[in-house]
């Protein structure tokens, strides 16, 4: 399995990966000119030692590549993880010019994240991070309808601007963009992925990005079971 749906219309897809738990072990032992071909107990103890002692550089030599489809508000936080990572998004960049599309920048229909009636959350009770309990669904139902109506209106204005000949890069000012789905590639070292997980699985991270982090965790630990287990444990202890 390499695809996990997240939120109403988003997803995380594992596109590719390089290496396995053995990559970490072999990178750490590069000076010995012998490679492990099979993971031994001794190798697993080495992974545990490296994670515990913060010798994370061997984890930079394994790589994961994901395609992510997420609301802009999630993407914005994600893109802050730049050390050991590369993000690639096609839209809004001159790459699109190549595509000889008359609708330049408008590569597909805008799609928006809309919380369902039971997904709206209250603000937290105390000054701590994050959000609180779900609000009553009757209230939620009203806000879901209100948001859908507002998006619909924005899309109409956006279309009207395009129809009037306004360039797409300005017309998009009419979109309620925090909920707009964007799609990108994230190519990241195992170290960078673990760092992301250690921060975004936390209970005080925004709920929506926590859900994406769980999908990343699930796809990553299928590929690097020992490395992920040791690294995340270590982070939790800290």
């Amino acid at each position: 399995m390499s695809f996990i749906q997240v939120l109403d219309q988003g997803y995380v897809r594992l596109v590719d990966k390089m290496g396995s738990d053995l990559t970490v072990v072999n990178a750490a032992r590069v000076s010995y000119a012998k490679q492990s071909k099979e993971l031994t107990d001794r190798d697993i103890r080495l992974i545990r030692f490296l994670a515990r002692e913060g010798h994370t550089s061997p984890f930079r030599h394994a790589v994961l590549q994901f395609e992510i489809y997420a609301p802009l508000m999630v993407a914005r936080q994600w893109w802050k993880y730049v050390v050991g990572s590369a993000h690639m998004e096609g839209t809004g960049d001159s790459l699109d010019a190549w595509n000889e599309s008359s609708r330049r920048y408008i590569t597909e229909e805008p799609v928006f994240y809309v919380p369902r009636k039971d997904e709206w959350r209250s603000k937290p009770d105390n000054s701590k991070q994050g959000s609180g309990q779900p609000i009553e669904w009757e209230k939620g139902e009203a806000f879901t309808a209100s948001l859908m109506e507002y998006i619909e209106q924005g899309l109409e204005k956006y279309q009207a601007a395009l129809d009037a000949g306004i360039c797409a890069e300005q017309a998009r000012l009419f979109l309620p963009a925090y909920g707009l789905y964007v799609r990108w590639y994230w190519t990241a070292s195992l170290q960078a992925v673990c760092h992301f997980l250690s921060q975004r699985l936390e209970h005080d991270a925004q709920k929506e990005i926590q859900l994406y982090a769980k999908a990343i965790l699930q796809l990553s630990e299928a590929q690097f079971p020992n490395a992920i287990a040791q690294f995340i444990k270590k982070e939790e202890v800290k």
Copy 2:
């Protein structure tokens, strides 16, 4: 002068800088254990040589720091410049928790960029990048009014959601966020600044980011006149 206004309510402010044209020269000649104290013609020829031949590593040892206030759509493109740079934005991050503000995340009133009636641009005539000529101001006037009205409505819905006890991180889905002003620190090596300029001063970059790039250029060349001149010239020739 260290402050330049950009767009209707944005700005670029030079917060700090480290070094001068001499820093580039002294970094390039570090193996000689002597430092130039004053910029000579020979030093200027060295800067020209370095820029022309693509030996850009000495330019990594001078640093500029800006505070930027720009619409989110501009910020998104800017943040792609990560090599040799650090971006720092306070909002939406757990840092805010520290501030014991009951409005967590809502650190100030939302402010939006709204093009004036004569600032709306048509789509380009051919398939090339960028936007075309301004559209007629009568049309523009209508879209300015329409956008203001739409923002106003979004703000009301946003406030209603907050009043109903919905957490700010969800309530913001009601904001037409591409035009929302965000504020951040950008600390970047002179090399990273020149790379940004060489791409975002281009005529096919989005007009709004071109205006910010011009402000960065003006503030930077006051500090590093020779380095900027040689570097930007080189990029243009390419």
Copy 3:
């Protein structure tokens, strides 16, 4: 083939790789939500366009991993390529402590690069970079013998220091270390590999690193034939 011998006892080995020419294409087109499965002429034209226009970010999403065994003087230059790369060398680092080896740091016998009698080069005739013609082999023969004798002597003194109980980290001061072979992992994006090649294949790079660059080129273009061809061509033209 994934292994190429370089110099008298060195080598480059392709350990792993992630992606193909298609990775570049799919990263560039991520906003379209469709992936090419087979490389078409249109895809190849896109690669050419990206390389020519300097849109190199899609090349960051393909990765190559090498094990390299090279003299320290070559390693020192190589390690300057850090953007988009990770280097991993086991020796001299606390990782070795884990290995419960009584010889800590001394993970294998020191091995040295010694130019053969016909491999010594004269200094260049003019002020340009690089080295000149080979010197006469009679002279070369004498220097080869002289270097071997000097290394032998250094190894004896090094061993004497260890035998007297001196720690390995100081005893190594007796080694003529520029020629000492070191082994490391280099995990680098395709973009970083191309940048390395564009500089180190140049005729004025040190001859020894040129030979390593040729091995990297050969191993890389077998994996990414179109991307390497377009990228290196572009660099040469510049």
Copy 4:
């Protein structure tokens, strides 16, 4: 004071810096559009909070620049700190070509680190990192003399090779290079400096690099007293 001598002939010099403890505070609070001009108790508590919670990104916005003169074996470990850092060494690079020096690459007389008679250390008693007690000075005296004699001999052979017309890049194979002093610029964010300190002040780091780390600590805490104190404390606790 901005210059500290280290080892027999090495040093660390603070060349420049950008920012102060206030820079960290203002970066963390950038979303508020007000800057502290003077460091308050509340600001100091914020620095403590950031360091303790691992919110280290505001520390990337203050910068330190050092000139370092250290033996190659120290330089090799130092250069592994690349995240948030730039290293610049003039030698061995094509930059030197510009200098129209007939001795290309040979920018100054080679200088070597030689431990004094009471500075040789034994290997550690157990399998832990680092070195043990000083060895008896009578033994040490002999090794100091032996190393000096060996270096002298290497220099003669090196000079003979140059005199015979061999290029400098090969002639240097005759130098016992681990002790060879090299000079470079290190421009690093406060975060990168603290990360370096937290690892290289440790008792199991090589003694020689510990001495350099102490010099960096002394020069840095004069500029960023609160940030350094909080950050290093946190690392020690870990």
